[in-house]
Symmetry: D2
Subunit: 164 residues, 4 copies
């Protein structure tokens, strides 16, 4: 049996409050012995989630990179170089058993949440703005689950992986 893959998406802005949440989220994912998958770059939520996961011995981190020229986070174990630029966001959602959005702040993250829904994947959004919650309630047929903390996200992910 393959280990579950948890995709974490979020802003590449290093100054967002989502970055601290991502660090914690990465750590919790690794403690569950789940594989962390993200966009692989050395920026923002991607970097922090990978860093948090690699604090845990035996963890595995997979980065789905847009191109050969993207700077890879040093905490990525396996770098998949897609060469398909932003279209790689679709691969992130297709490859994840559960997608967790650490905030829904930038256009890249919005595309990932939307592509996840389009691919019939569940999305857990941590600490999304009221505007994002209102919008995705309308668009997503309640397939975006909103929580406030990384711990709640992990609990929801467990439910989803159990199929409950």
């Amino acid at each position: 049996m393959r280990k579950p893959i948890i995709g974490v998406v979020g802003t590449s802005n290093d100054n967002s409050p989502a970055v601290d949440m991502a660090l914690k989220l990465g750590r919790l994912i690794a403690q569950e012995q789940w594989i962390l998958l993200n966009g692989g770059r050395n920026r923002g939520v991607m970097r922090a989630a990978s860093q948090g996961a690699k604090e845990v011995p035996g963890s595995i981190t997979v980065g789905i990179l847009p191109s050969e020229s993207a700077e890879i986070s040093p905490d990525i174990d396996i770098a998949v170089i897609t060469g398909i630029q932003n279209a790689r966001n679709n691969i992130i959602t297709l490859s994840s058993d559960v997608v967790i959005a650490c905030g829904i702040e930038g256009a890249g993250t919005v595309s990932e949440v939307a592509l996840a829904l389009k691919n019939s994947k569940s999305v857990i959004a941590v600490n999304a703005s009221a505007e994002a919650q209102n919008f995705f309630r309308q668009v997503g047929n309640n397939a975006v689950l909103h929580v406030q903390t990384p711990e709640e996200a992990i609990a929801k992910a467990k439910d989803l992986l159990r199929g409950t």
Copy 2:
């Protein structure tokens, strides 16, 4: 000089009020002698926009299809079969000089608007919901321009093509 390419995105739901707007929008785009580009399928906004364009003699319609098995609208002149499924949404935005969203109702359309913003493309949204407007005001740095009618969308597109 190549003719401008106008990408039209929107729901595949045949019963949406966006479908009537798309028919008109396709016609107006063709009357400007612009090339219409869309997702190419025989559904909803895609089908209607293509149909509207082909009412105009000399029009050109380009469909960017997800796969070989997708049903192609009979009003598509040039069918590009990408084989990359929903990731083809990124090609639609990259290939368009201006992207017009006919409503922002479904997850596919949301991904297209978001990818357009991520690729630094302007997006004109016709008749988007208040929730969508509030959300993309926050996410898109005002790069989504909201209008109410196809005629206003064409006027905005002219401004954008002139670089004003």
Copy 3:
């Protein structure tokens, strides 16, 4: 009914003898009122085929470009910007009713012939080397048809489009 799309692939080397053949081939394709599709760049076989086609009034040329930064041939009418780099070679083969290889000299062209075969498309190879003919006889189950001149390629393409 959509017009047939003929994909022309070949070297980006401007000094290859395949370039003169491509110029003629592009012209003949346009004279049949077929749509010419190629990689869209302003190099080698791509440029020459597009130039030949645009000598014919009413012709349509479609370029499937690897990225936003690729230089587009001035004879391309419709530029599809894929952003997926060399993976766009698969889109060229999927979108073509018939693929014609103008020589099989470079690695890019080899990938296009191979992907065409993988996608169950017929390939007409004009003036391929003895080594290429021997190799693809082994690999391609005789799905690569070898001819010597652009005129013979057009005759074979007519057969394929008729399903004979």
Copy 4:
């Protein structure tokens, strides 16, 4: 430092003699503590290489799958679902530090070798036919290195990883 990723490509035909070589090759790659990457399907060279690698404790196997519907080998640890069909062959080559072709028999493998060359990657071909060797000598500027056995392939891969 990330572990080297070795891409193994080859026929999906279960009856090819390349399958036995792939089993051995997968084992040897894992013994070097390199990561094995391949097309991930439960067929031919892909299945055998993954199986060989997983005989070695601590090994890591990554599958780059064409679509959600492809059957995944049970010996794949990390399944990346690309959704881009045969265009995923380009991701296999971009993500590998070294590409090893276990025979060059089918069109898919030919496309992978060609895309690797196009992406300036070295390719080690094990036991390729005389026709394949003659052809790629002409096309590949000697960037395809021919060997007869899995052991020789590993030795060449070490040289390439050392940059010698």
